[in-house]
Symmetry: C2
Subunit: 370 residues, 2 copies
């Protein structure tokens, strides 16, 4: 059978709970679809700090670099709030993204029909919504140097005497490669890309716009390309999100805009993501899959968490890492049927009611639907 290596990093909070349901799904595909998964486990985030004194240990990174795909739960929690910046749970995630060079972060914002009423937006604005945000993930202000907080005591006008600095920095090569990812994905969907920046204010935004246009004109003239300022992009996402197909944007705008887009769907507990890098020797891209939601420490350990985002992240792994598009669609279909049957974790329980289930029961239902 086809054999795939997976590293599972459950992380913190509800991470381990939702990942336990993914394990069931992996077993099912192994038993029923002739795939063979070589699964290993490790720690990341706060749990890694507790064990190793660092949110992403060197040996964890080395493992992540050597597998076909990493599945991550979530990181962070109030327990770690007072830690130094350099060892906070988030740094573990950022280290993996950066060192694996996972430059293209795919964040689908899809509105599930059975859940459209959960959105704070009107049903007619979001029903059928299906957009894909491609966020640059390894550069920009997240990683640019110089950065830090410094004394500025010689400046009598600076009450407080400190200065905080970060650097937004993009090379044309960094922009081109993520643009190519966006255009490739658009060709498999609605064939439309909207690129967002602040070229009216930032030179890095001008470069962004020019390089995306260059890739379009030279390599993807068949794809429809438009440009939008990111502030207008935020407005348009709220006003009429279905005007978009694929959105490509930088690391920081992508962080904010993809979260806004995720919330439009009304069901954050449903949304997966994929972070992809360059192709490895075996032809598969470096890859990390994780739900968009956070570690939700307030409900951790209570069986209340919704495992679907994490399960759909595994579906993305099937599609993008293992070229098993049919299996991915099979899993996504099972999730939709379970939802259509009214099966609901607490976060999905609305006025219309439904069958209340725990995290683990939701996993079982999905297996049954498969």
């Amino acid at each position: 059978p086809d054999s795939y290596s997976l590293l599972i990093l459950p992380g913190d909070g509800i991470g381990p709970e939702v990942m336990a349901e993914v394990a069931k799904v992996i077993d099912w595909f192994q038993d029923n679809r002739g795939m063979s998964f070589d699964v290993s486990h490790d720690l990341v985030g706060g749990s890694a700090y507790d064990e190793y004194g660092t949110p992403c240990a060197d040996q964890t990174l080395a493992r992540a670099q050597s597998v076909d795909a990493v599945l991550l739960g979530a990181v962070g929690g109030p327990k770690y709030d007072s830690l130094d910046f350099s060892v906070k749970p988030e740094r573990g995630l950022l280290r993996l993204r950066k060192e694996m060079d996972l430059f293209a972060n795919l964040r689908p914002a899809q509105c599930f029909d059975a859940l459209a009423d959960f959105s704070s937006l009107k049903r007619e604005v979001v029903a059928g919504l299906d957009i894909l945000i491609v966020r640059e993930l390894t550069s920009g202000v997240y990683f640019g140097e110089p950065r830090g907080i410094h004394d500025d005591n010689n400046n009598p006008e600076n009450e407080g005497g400190r200065v905080g600095i970060n650097t937004q920095r993009y090379t044309s090569g960094e922009i081109r490669r993520v643009a190519r990812s966006a255009f490739d994905l658009a060709r498999q969907r609605g064939n439309k890309v909207c690129s967002m920046e602040k070229a009216n204010v930032m030179e890095s935004g001008i470069l962004w716009r020019e390089e995306v246009q260059w890739v379009h004109d030279n390599e993807y003239p068949d794809v429809e390309l438009s440009h939008m300022y990111a502030d207008n992009g935020a407005m348009q996402l709220v006003r009429n999100p279905r005007q978009f197909d694929v959105i490509v944007t930088d690391n920081l705008f992508g962080d904010v805009l993809s979260d806004a887009a995720a919330m439009l769907t009304g069901s954050l507990g449903m949304l997966p993501s994929a972070s992809l890098g360059a192709k490895m020797a075996n032809g598969r891209p470096k890859a990390l899959y994780e739900p968009v939601h956070g570690s939700a420490p307030d409900i951790a350990g209570q069986g209340k968490a919704n495992p679907i985002a994490c399960i759909l992240s595994f579906a993305m792994a099937l599609r993008y890492s293992f070229d098993q598009g049919d299996a991915a669609a099979e899993l996504e279909g099972a999730v939709e049927r379970v939802l259509a049957d009214g099966v609901r974790t607490a976060d999905l329980m609305g006025p219309q009611g439904g069958t209340a289930v725990s995290t683990s029961q939701m996993g079982d239902r999905i297996i049954a639907a498969l």
Copy 2:
């Protein structure tokens, strides 16, 4: 009578049309409320470039510095798209903000009851919405150095050979002064401030959080303060915007988040803004007032534009520059009555119909309601 000096900069696109209606309002207050306005006019943006070769001429800036308040319409248009970055219409606006040191940008996002159905959000989510975003306006990545696009030819990994750089830079003093504005405003409203940044990723965000907290603890312990990551802020604005009272954030996050917030209300043509700086010798703050909407070149010159945002910007001038809170409330009340009567410019005309009016008729109706 109290005498106030005003510089009117109509700008481009629909700017002159909407400003013509403000002129009627100014006349009304002069004739009926014992105020005396010393009004002068000048150009900014594309129209200034056409006339002076620069989007904000030195003499325009000098005038702006010397008056009690500047009223600005809007800048920009496709005619100027191909201009060099340094002389684009937006640079005129940015120059005024920076040189007048207008560090606190007040952007109310209010949902007018008569217009709540225009929102893409459900009525029950936005009805009665009344939040105030205080955006830092003179620093951050908009103005930080180094900045620019450079050759990077010696880097073989950089296909394209260029690099674009901008610098996010905040001093503690810059953060403290805008935080004070936010706390002062909160005391006149719901007494709650939420500060937004990305302290989990950016050191400038850590400094932001610490300095806002410092101002709170030392000077405004009576105001309720919370902190939120900006990506979560974008989500929460979509999910449940009424949880907020005053939001304080930096220049770039403020740009994106205030536009998202504006769109929540469903009536962009209604939203004013004020940009305030330090107090002048006469006790009044340096100030510039402008609508949140843009220059809308597609409808310019057709009498279709909604003048209300610009008129409400003048109401903000009455309140914040001239300490005429009663007159401001009188003007705002007149606008609400006209809306309640079903009077509608094209952008406000919904399925429920109403009395269709032109830009200038809307101005007349508001005068009549006064």
